[in-house]
């Protein structure tokens, strides 16, 4: 096995009891105390996540906006300085290269946040697609650390460490702020369904910022949270995870992300023809979310069966919702089967999948 990559907070995690595992080639904390307790702390108060493994890319130049609008399915033209956009980025066939956040710093200056496991692939794709555009693409992943602070107390905790007026940064907006003496790009975004910030900062500042956030947050109920809680929080919120609900073979329309596919944005984009055809003709498959009323977790890759017990798809994500105390998940199933009764077999027991329109829990996110 090749050497695992480490974030600047690796020693911080070890010192705080983090259980380190291999995640997409990175040595990352899956949990500190308990995945379930960390999850509940984020819904109740706040959680601090090291997500420095995520990739960052600068896209700059006179053609930056036009280039990005050709690359992603959502409409980059709607951005203005300080605004963030979530979008899939597709192959010509409609499958997904990655899903990402696009930040506009200035008309010719954009910043992208991409998935850790896709950095090399994405950067190669960015260069390959840049032919004919006057853009500079710079992989900044090694320069940045990223801390996510999420939960109803998150904004107050960050505010206690800065003179910047964070209330001015609304949901899916960002600004520059000095937090605990560390210069940050403060983005009011997240992957938990809660209010909070994602703080991009210089890798060398990460230990100081993490320590300051933890100290300021603990009296307000903040806990360190690992990737285990991050996954159960995002699934409870109904957010897709690349490699599960979105892949090179699962289009954003199939995944239920039609709101991010702007077929009529007035600019052609990679995958548009295929996605238009899928929208007009209907896709062959569909991602559905489910709960079971049972504590047994329905694990990824479990076959999904129709009423007659015939296989019609497979589970792509599954966990126990710590708030609902029952199994929740998502599955990729034949479009024709999606509206009919579905079930799985767990160790010989037939368990019915109850369709759910996510989020699975009430989210109190302020915007």
């Amino acid at each position: 096995m090749s050497e695992l990559k480490r974030t600047p907070l690796r020693d911080f995690h070890v010192a705080h009891g983090g259980r380190l595992v291999d995640f997409a080639g990175w040595e990352m904390p899956v949990q500190y105390r308990s995945i379930l307790e960390e999850h509940k702390a984020v819904r109740r108060a706040a959680g601090l996540f090291d997500v420095s493994h995520m990739g960052e890319v600068d896209v700059q130049g006179p053609d930056a906006a036009r280039y990005l609008n050709r690359l992603v399915t959502n409409d980059v033209a709607k951005l203005f300085p300080g605004r963030v956009l979530y979008s899939p980025m597709c192959y010509p066939g409609g499958g997904v290269v990655d899903d990402l956040l696009v930040y506009q710093r200035a008309a010719d200056d954009y910043f992208l946040c991409i998935n850790a496991g896709n950095i090399a692939k994405d950067v190669a794709w960015f260069h390959e697609q840049a032919a004919g555009f006057d853009v500079r693409i710079t992989d900044r992943s090694a320069d940045y650390a990223l801390l996510a602070i999420q939960g109803p107390q998150a904004a107050d905790i960050v505010q206690s460490l800065t003179g910047a007026k964070l209330g001015l940064i609304k949901y899916y907006h960002f600004g520059e702020a000095t937090i605990a003496g560390v210069h940050c790009l403060a983005s009011r975004t997240g992957y938990t369904g809660e209010d909070g910030f994602e703080l991009y900062h210089a890798a060398s500042d990460a230990p100081a910022l993490a320590a300051a956030l933890l100290e300021a947050g603990r009296p307000r109920g903040l806990e360190l949270a690992g990737l285990g809680a991050r996954d159960s929080l995002r699934l409870e919120a109904g957010y897709p995870l690349y490699g599960h609900e979105l892949t090179a073979d699962i289009s954003p329309l199939t995944a239920g992300l039609g709101w991010t596919v702007k077929l009529d944005k007035g600019a052609d984009f990679v995958g548009r023809t295929a996605l238009l055809a899928e929208k007009q003709q209907g896709g062959a498959q569909k991602i559905v979310f489910f709960k079971t009323g049972d504590r047994r977790i329905v694990r990824a890759d479990t076959p999904v069966l129709d009423g007659e017990g015939r296989p019609v798809g497979r589970v792509v994500s599954g966990t126990l919702s710590p708030l609902l105390n029952e199994a929740i998940g998502s599955a990729l199933v034949a479009a024709g089967a999606a509206a009919h009764p579905l079930a799985v077999d767990i160790r010989g027991a037939k368990v019915a999948l109850q369709p759910v329109k996510p989020p699975f829990v009430d989210l109190k996110r302020q915007s």
Partner: protein
């Protein structure tokens, strides 16, 4: 660090056995096992009256991470199960040797327990 009470016997498959004063055997999983599994979300145990053979799977313990088989450390007949785990499986994380017990067996051969590992031997196995 995991703890392994000296008065218990241990199976290589990470179950513990306590011989009660009436000769029955209480069985659960070790502190090492619960810690390795992480948050336990479901425990499936057999019904009272079930006859178990040593080394055979008698149930399943599930955590957020994975589902693992439970193995009978000795042969015998199930005389009690911990039904509290149905709604509170996390008890196994909190108290693996007390409230987190899983089932009680009337052993087919009371001498079989002596063949299991003692605490220092089990500690070396997982150390």
């Amino acid at each position: 660090m995991s703890s392994f009470p000296a008065e218990l016997r241990y199976a290589k498959s990470h179950e513990w056995v306590r011989v009660e004063s009436d000769g029955t055997c209480t069985i659960g999983i070790t502190d090492y096992a619960q810690n390795s599994l992480g948050d336990i979300t479901y425990v499936q145990v057999p019904k009272v009256g079930a006859v178990l053979k040593a080394g055979e799977s008698f149930g399943v313990v599930e955590s957020v991470k994975a589902a693992s088989d439970l193995y009978a450390p000795v042969s015998g007949t199930v005389v009690a199960v911990n039904s509290a785990l149905e709604s509170a499986p996390e008890t196994v994380n909190r108290a693996p040797y007390s409230d987190g017990w899983m089932l009680r067996l009337k052993p087919a051969d009371p001498a079989a327990v002596a063949a299991l590992l003692d605490a220092p031997s089990y500690g070396r196995l997982v150390g």
